[in-house]
Symmetry: C2
Subunit: 388 residues, 2 copies
């Protein structure tokens, strides 16, 4: 089949998703250019007529390599028309069943910005931040596919001067532009995964928007961390870009020299990734968060998650945390872009700090390989509906 040479969905990418057509059963497909390859038809393997990637992911690294090779071979020749669907004519679903969901906090620029905003009189980074990838568990049951509307959450909030909290719709609804990593083959209890084993365990990556109600979060989060400020919705993109593809976009990390990480976090060759996101607010681009600036790698995150003996399972999802670069236009949350709401943005001629009802946010992402090839992530999209 013919794929335009400049397509971000060429033979070096081949992200997996779950799609359906005309009300039919969801099944596994691979995006090639502007088409979706129906894998059960193309490979004659009913194992791909499944509504999630989990069973395929659980088959392990050698199988991932094999299937990827067969797809690349197949699309180099003629593909029967019945195995192809225009991407605009299919419905895309949540591509995997989420087991546990963990969100990290791996951008030094983001963590520093948040520190400056919330603790203006203290060091921006807390003492543990450069020693371990700080993270917490989120709600797996509210991870939604791109395009799912987000109803404005209600909850408790309390201003610094209010005598008591009030209940009502969040007035500081925000996004966090992130990458999410999907575990393909887990690890049993008490069998930590070293950073160098990362590509044998993690199947792929998605774009992730960790919707955040800052007012609810600020009141609830001491001492046990975020809960209802985050648990109402997390959106992920429909295409899971294989780590086998992203390996070609591998770059050094910006630096972990002072302090050097403890041995269990050291990588023979770091899993920095040359990926850039773009955030569009009601169609207007407001930020270009650079994933390549992240302090901790996804390989270090999985090593940290399992070093205490915790098992990992097929379908585990972990987010990078908000991706922010050193420049103001590289910040991956509206909290940072509006500096705590103090500096409104002009979006299509309207002033914005946090999200208003009807607003739509689209996060896109592209990886760049060492040879300059672009690998598209597609997008994760969501619109805000009024509180109920």
């Amino acid at each position: 089949m013919i794929v335009p040479a400049d397509s971000p969905f060429g033979p070096e990418n081949l992200p997996y998703g779950v799609f359906s057509t005309g009300g039919g059963s969801p099944r596994i497909g691979v995006r090639v250019g502007e088409q979706v390859l129906d894998l059960s038809v193309a490979l004659g393997d009913a194992g791909f007529a499944e509504p999630s990637l989990n069973a395929f992911m659980a088959q392990g690294y050698d199988r991932w390599v094999d299937v990827r090779g067969r797809i690349q071979e197949l699309i180099a020749g003629d593909v029967p028309a019945e195995a192809l669907h225009a991407v605009g004519e299919v419905t895309l679903h949540l591509p995997f069943e989420v087991a546990d969901y963990v969100d990290f906090y791996a951008s030094e620029h983001h963590a520093s910005n948040v520190g400056r905003l919330f603790r203006p009189d203290a060091e921006p980074l807390l003492p543990n931040w450069k020693h371990l990838p700080v993270g917490y568990h989120g709600r797996a049951g509210t991870v939604y596919p791109s395009g799912t509307d987000v109803v404005r959450p209600s909850g408790q909030r309390k201003g610094p001067d209010g005598p008591a909290p009030v209940f009502g719709p969040s007035t500081r609804l925000d996004i966090e532009a992130e990458l999410g990593f999907v575990v393909g083959t887990g690890t049993p209890a008490n069998t930590p995964v070293s950073p160098d084993e990362f590509p044998r365990h993690v199947f792929g990556a998605v774009l992730l928007n960790d919707w955040s109600a800052r007012d609810i979060q600020a009141w609830e989060y001491v001492p046990l961390g975020p809960n209802l400020g985050k648990s109402f919705a997390t959106s992920v993109s429909p295409w899971v870009v294989p780590i086998l593809a992203l390996a070609e976009a591998r770059i050094p990390l910006p630096g972990q020299h002072d302090p050097e990480p403890l041995p269990y976090l050291r990588e023979s060759r770091p899993w920095g990734l040359d990926i850039e996101l773009a955030v569009r607010w009601n169609g207007q681009q407001v930020a270009r968060p650079p994933y390549r600036e992240m302090y901790w790698s996804p390989a270090q995150m999985l090593a940290h998650l399992t070093v205490n003996g915790a098992s990992a399972r097929t379908g585990d999802l972990y987010g990078s945390g908000t991706i922010s670069g050193p420049e103001p236009a590289e910040r991956g949350s509206f909290l940072e872009l509006s500096w705590g709401g103090r500096d409104p943005l002009t979006v299509n001629g309207e002033s914005r700090t946090f999200l208003q009802d009807g607003d739509e946010v689209v996060v896109e992402g592209t990886a760049t390989t060492g040879s300059g090839t672009k690998l598209g992530f597609g997008e994760v999209r969501g619109r805000i509906l009024p509180a109920r």
Copy 2:
């Protein structure tokens, strides 16, 4: 069948579990006295020949009432021998598949003790504590059935005076004696569950031991809460005591007057529960944590979890948080019982602060109904193995 009148597993209890015999398939049973009733045999319903309670729980409240009535009717007469197994001769399994796991912090005495230990110069309770049931998400994939050994976790810890963190086995391994509540029928997104709807959604309760590595937790937990200090293991008891049974042990809460909870947390009649736990360390009873002293009810916890629009699913598990009463011998963690390690306990003639390799902890629980009947929870048991 004949059940001794003083059995804590009489016809007013009837907890559900999953058991197997002689290497056979796990299936659903109900504990009656010292026997396990094989439900698929006893009721002639293959739907109970399942390895988890989830499908049954998802059938909803009316079905729970119906099946309970039929079991009570059945055991009032003669039960065929092939439907009964001695409890000592069966293997008990994790009774349900855990969807999301959340742990609360609902004991005022526990939260105050922890506050006094960790922040000696400040108010013991943080400002939000009496306004909302503080909680966080834990790791669903590491919830284990009673009897599972716990390998001592390793991780980063840093003393207050150390220049940098060190990596190694936890030296402050602790328990948290809790109750866990199991969601039977969930709620879709944006459909909060009011406290009064609690018994239609929550199927039952188990004993829960939230194993905690205090040194790992202390270093990692700012600002996003506990993660690796808890995620290595959470143990639950094998018998799920129905809320239909526990409704007879309902009592008022100790008091929520100052402040009064916000309307979404108000109960027409509170779901306080007259339950007492016992903690045995290497066979010696070291505490009797009184669940009846808990500040927040489990109905308020579910209302809080869903008020922001988060869905709930069959198999969601939420813990009460450590149960501690006002008296020293009523504290549900060794952190509190040893007052931060300063006041060792004498356990079988040996001095203990935190757990040593080979130590075994058993938590038992009993509810008392309004008419004085005892409803047993059985026990949750775990032994510490050396770090790997």
